[in-house]
């Protein structure tokens, strides 16, 4: 199996606090991988190091067979990573369409081609009927969907989604699961997720972080049955 993304010894300290420690992580091409763990386990810190928002204290990252440990964030994105923020971070005062267009323009040239790509992405997430609205006026759930549209319009090799279903209604979560399965045909997906039904139904493989270290890895079923994970995270009930 070829690995799209690998890390070795990824470590990050925040003023003496060890947020992530010695993580060796391998993500094969085409997989949907869920990253779970209790609050403060280091999930967001870990993926922030992957895409270059935070420099690691130690460790190396390779992406598509290339060492990207020293690349700045925008160059990693240009290699085919896309990152959606945990706290929605859309351009609030710009229109929905312009938000997605900004994400599309790096890949797609020409106003017409951009407009088509934008409409296609908005249709996929179900926001196709409101391109001219200000992004800041969307409901929270719709802003999350807009984030995802901004990710998928980049046609990334790796799509990193940080808690994408947070704040979504149940019906929206069902639509989201279908969307993820659809996206996985063309992209590898790394998903930070708290909602266990999303993890169980979409992920091929699960990595559990606890206190900044990998506690367990396995299929969703294996993880569900794992005693250590139960104790640390899922609860014993």
């Amino acid at each position: 199996m070829t690995m799209l993304l690998s890390t070795r010894g990824m470590t990050r300290y925040f003023a003496g606090l060890r947020a992530v420690h010695g993580v060796d992580f391998d993500l094969p091409e085409g997989q949907i991988r869920a990253l779970i763990g209790p609050n403060g386990a280091g999930k967001t810190t870990f993926v922030s190091m992957l895409c270059g928002r935070i420099p690691p204290s130690e460790g190396m990252i390779s992406f598509g067979g290339r060492d990207i440990s020293r690349l700045p964030a925008h160059k990693r994105i240009n290699l085919g990573m896309a990152y959606t923020f945990q706290i929605t971070s859309v351009f609030a005062r710009l229109s929905v369409a312009e938000n997605v267009a900004l994400a599309a323009r790096r890949k797609v040239q020409g106003a017409d081609a951009v407009a088509r790509a934008v409409q296609g992405a908005l249709d996929k997430v179900g926001l196709g009927d409101r391109p001219d609205q200000n992004a800041g006026d969307l409901s929270y759930g719709h802003q999350r969907l807009l984030e995802i549209a901004m990710g998928l319009v980049q046609e990334p090799r790796l799509l990193i989604l940080d808690e994408p279903t947070q704040g979504l209604a149940d019906s929206e979560i069902d639509a989201f699961k279908a969307l993820i399965r659809d996206l996985s045909k063309s992209a590898t997906i790394l998903l930070i997720e708290h909602n266990m039904s999303v993890v169980m139904e979409t992920a091929d493989f699960v990595t559990v972080l606890n206190f900044g270290e990998i506690l367990a890895e396995g299929t969703p079923q294996e993880i569900h049955a794992d005693a250590a994970v139960q104790a640390a995270y899922l609860g014993t009930g």
Partner: protein
């Protein structure tokens, strides 16, 4: 009408109006408007950085003066003709803004404001220090004989108006074009949410540097034209006052709108002009008007127009 047609009609309409006005205005206002158009070009340059990219500079007098002295020294010391002297002024703007951008963009926010302010002060002091060439505070006059470009006497009011008009039209159309381009859209994205723009794969530093150089170059072109058209080059144009002016004009007219700089410059110019005819305490009237506008039109005149009526306004 589509938004694009409206946009063309509005901006083309303004340029058409300004063109026609030169034949209609009495001499006093004719001269004023020529001055306003050159200063508005300066404000357009400032607006690229402040209004569209969200970079608050307190040192734009450095660029204005770079253009003015680049032109003026070329004429006065080099004996160069006006056209190449103007180019020298613009090039001085490119070099100074690129150098300032490379250094100052390592900082952000308040630190960026302070750094630009300090560089501009250093520029002002340099003008005074090299008084042997610049004539310091006193400045120097560019003689009428030195202001004849391609056989056109730029000290003549009609020619001067037309030259100012040409400069303003170029700057206005350039800024209109840039903000519609993908490059301009990225600048707005950086202003709105820099981290998000970076995580969409844009090289934020390079885009900001491009904005600083474009902004500085337009400002320098305005400075060079001002010196040539009005025949005087002096250190006061490098002082902090001339860094604050474009900020005020852009704020009043509407930061991040293409027309805002012109509206703000025109408004402020005539506010001071009219109130100084009424009282010697004219700055008080100007100050009160500014406070009222900031309270009731915080987005500036064109900005309010956009948020209330014309949403398509670029």
């Amino acid at each position: 009408m589509s938004a694009t047609q409206k946009m063309i009609a509005l901006h083309g309409g303004l340029l058409g109006l300004l063109f026609v006005l030169q034949f209609l205005l009495p001499a006093y206002h004719h001269g004023n408007l020529a001055r306003v158009m050159v200063l508005a070009s300066y404000a357009i340059g400032y607006n690229i950085m402040f209004g569209y990219t969200g970079l608050l500079s307190l040192g734009h007098a450095l660029f204005f003066a770079a253009g003015m002295y680049g032109m003026g020294l070329a004429v006065n010391l080099g004996g160069v003709a006006p056209a190449p002297a103007l180019i020298a002024g613009v090039l001085a703007g490119v070099v100074v803004s690129a150098a300032l951008g490379l250094l100052a963009l390592r900082t952000a926010g308040v630190a960026f404001m302070i750094v630009t302010l300090m560089f501009a002060q250093a520029g002002y002091l340099a003008v005074l220090y090299f008084g042997a060439y610049t004539r310091g505070d006193e400045g120097f006059v560019i003689q009428q004989a030195q202001r004849i470009m391609w056989g056109i006497d730029l000290s003549d009011p009609a020619n001067r108006y037309f030259a100012a008009y040409a400069l303003f039209a170029i700057c206005l159309l350039l800024s209109l074009w840039v903000v519609q381009r993908p490059f301009g859209r990225v600048l707005v994205a950086i202003r709105e949410n820099e981290e998000r723009a970076r995580m969409l794969g844009y090289d934020v530093f390079r885009h900001k540097l491009g904005a600083v150089v474009l902004s500085g170059t337009i400002s320098a072109a305005a400075g060079a034209a001002y010196g040539l058209l009005f025949g005087y080059v002096g250190a006061s144009f490098a002082s902090v006052q001339y860094s604050i002016f474009p900020l005020l004009w852009v704020l009043l007219g509407g930061a991040g709108t293409v027309l805002g700089p012109f509206i703000g410059t025109l408004f402020m110019f005539y506010l001071i002009d009219l109130s100084s005819g009424l009282t010697s305490a004219y700055m008080l009237i100007a100050g009160v008007a500014l406070v009222v506008l900031t309270l009731f039109a915080p987005q500036g005149l064109a900005g309010e127009l956009r948020s209330r009526i014309w949403r398509w306004l670029p």
